[in-house]
Symmetry: C2
Amino acid sequence: MSRSLALSGFPEWLPEGRLVEQAIIDTARRVFELHGFASIETRSVEPLEQMLRKGEIDKEVYVLRRLHAAQDEPDPGLGLHFDLTVPFARYVLQHAGHLDFPFRRYQIQKVWRGERPQDGRFREFTQADIDVVDRDSLAFHHEVEMAVVMSTVLAELPIPRAVIHVSNRKLAEGFYRAVGATDPAAVLRAVDRLDKAGPDAVGRMLVADAGLSISAAEQCLAMAAIQAHDAGFVEQLEAIGPSNALMEEGIEELLAVIEGANRQRPGSVIADLRIARGLDYYTGTVYETMLEGHASIGSISSGGRYDALASDAKATYPGVGISLGVSRLVSVLLDRDLVQADRRVPSAVLVAVNDEQSRAASELVAGALRARGIPCEVAPKADRFGKQIRYADRRGIPYVWFPGIDAPLKDIRSGDQMAADPATWMPPAADLTPQIRATSLEQRSTA
Amino acid sequence: MSRSLALSGFPEWLPEGRLVEQAIIDTARRVFELHGFASIETRSVEPLEQMLRKGEIDKEVYVLRRLHAAQDEPDPGLGLHFDLTVPFARYVLQHAGHLDFPFRRYQIQKVWRGERPQDGRFREFTQADIDVVDRDSLAFHHEVEMAVVMSTVLAELPIPRAVIHVSNRKLAEGFYRAVGATDPAAVLRAVDRLDKAGPDAVGRMLVADAGLSISAAEQCLAMAAIQAHDAGFVEQLEAIGPSNALMEEGIEELLAVIEGANRQRPGSVIADLRIARGLDYYTGTVYETMLEGHASIGSISSGGRYDALASDAKATYPGVGISLGVSRLVSVLLDRDLVQADRRVPSAVLVAVNDEQSRAASELVAGALRARGIPCEVAPKADRFGKQIRYADRRGIPYVWFPGIDAPLKDIRSGDQMAADPATWMPPAADLTPQIRATSLEQRSTA
């Protein structure tokens, strides 16, 4: 049954998995708001012609039509958005007159990609994006800020260590031109394939597709191999040789991001000149984020600087943003058993029911607990107490309250029964709401 | 520009409107969790044949196709869900082996309806649903609980008073049969048109479409006019005359909901026998909710009991649920200027920047404030202080912090400047996060 109702590419979590997803989203939201980002949501659909600009012709998009469209009804030409950046650019243009610039926004929403059925990729997933957009010009320090904010989110999650890998488009384009490339975008596209195709194949692509000499291709591969936690990448670049003004500008910027972010959050970022990012619109800093021990899943948080994400007759809007792939992260955490929720429901307390006639008395206890922020539910049936305790136990609810007796509160983990007043008792903080914790290695091996 | 980029039926809020929406969603979630409902999300798409069962052939659905679908690729037959009930029923069947019954879930998600372009209705909107579903049989008291939980949400929102209007399908069907109806569903459909068509037209429909005698039609209209805050509806029904066993069962249930909910939350519900609900699957209690002074927008929260929302070869799953129309509510609150956010960003503090060389010192102050949960942002430019204060003022940020001076903290509303330590200072609770308040009548008249 389960198999026949599932749809490949459209992930769906059980309540305990959803708790993990909510914990990630709540943490992201809290950190974003602590940094002054305002929430927006955009509609889920955009006109196709807007989505397919900027060299995105190949994007897999889901197109909509009304089931009962009239014969002569014009096709509205609408598709589901495939990221949150294109809709945000449109939102900025549409509402510019009502926004304050620089505009700091976060956006946590689903996106859709019409991937081929056989590809096994997500066709629906949730992203959590932050961007800062300004009118005409945008201060550079926001390129440091994006890395700091996202690394703060990642550090607060119960996940393996995540490091943000940073490069810079000016550095890359400058370097490619300095080694003689006439089509830096083609070089970038080839370098972007390094993870999937490996250096030998990329080297051949650099010669065949990007028109580089063999020695220039080798220099590009050497450049892409550079990684450093600090200014060390500059020396490594100098050792390769080629240089020009654009590249120097990129080096300055990359240095500022690495040093600025690591000063605020030591070890949070690394210079990694392999980072290319496929999208055409990036013009400065670019970010990708690897989960330690799980590099095979690819980047869990990516983004970059764009000088002209949006523009109209009146203004150009440069911006910088970074996006957390919530669904991809949740899916690896659950599939690899890396985290666990300690219960399956929000309830900290099950209020038992003695008999159906006294259900109102149990509701009163529950009401008193809820009034002080303690989530609870009342037993659905006046079963014998053993069965009511099993109801709580199956769901991971830590306490059962038996109204009308001297020591009404039972911690069903320890079996301890204690005196408690519904008007004053408060559970330990760790019992108040479901806790999401990294699974220990022992737990994992027995899972 | 704004006009050309907007899409009719796809609402989108400015950041200050989104704050109102977030406040509503956050309140709903908090109350749902306090009552032990677990969160789930379902995928946004369902197979068309599943969505169009249960007499829902007329539903306006958006159908998806891949933009780059191959010529011979079979049409996947997928559509965007038009409510959260049909997907929930499928979720219960699909995951039944992993769920604990009775299963209490809440679900806050977008839904889509492929309404005709000219109808001016929402085509994308957010709903917040709770349901309790059990296997084989479901205890009646959950029909009281739904009204109590939703009225708690509504009472905590900064909105006009909302009262839940309740009726019962058994009462209605019993009454219709007692007056001689042979097709109670046709009577129900006619009565459901009362708000839009008025009693005269509905009376004619009852005779012409539902085959009632004129006196039976008059009795149905008299029955639909009954409203009572208490058991008074029973006497009014008896005054009309007709009765049978099914109707008596419905009366008992309606009485239990009205008295049970009003005992827990006085004035929260009213018996209103006009409430029919169009959907076929309801079998017991039905709910609709009117916003005082804004009845013209229709129900903002609706639902009911269904004996067999889902079933498979192994079991039948009865349930009861109620849904809050978040987008409809937000839209009326904003359009009619009924609520206001006191600022446009999460930040409680703008940390000023003396000059670009000392930006790190400002970041340190911001970091100390954030570590204690105070949302803040650092000024994007080292403009003169008057300009930095205007940056805060335009966004409604109440405080500006000037690092490195004796009395660094300025409340820009009062102009007061005071001593404060970033490691200990805490703003009043009302300044910590944006507050959403009902607009006073004076504010509205000058708006």
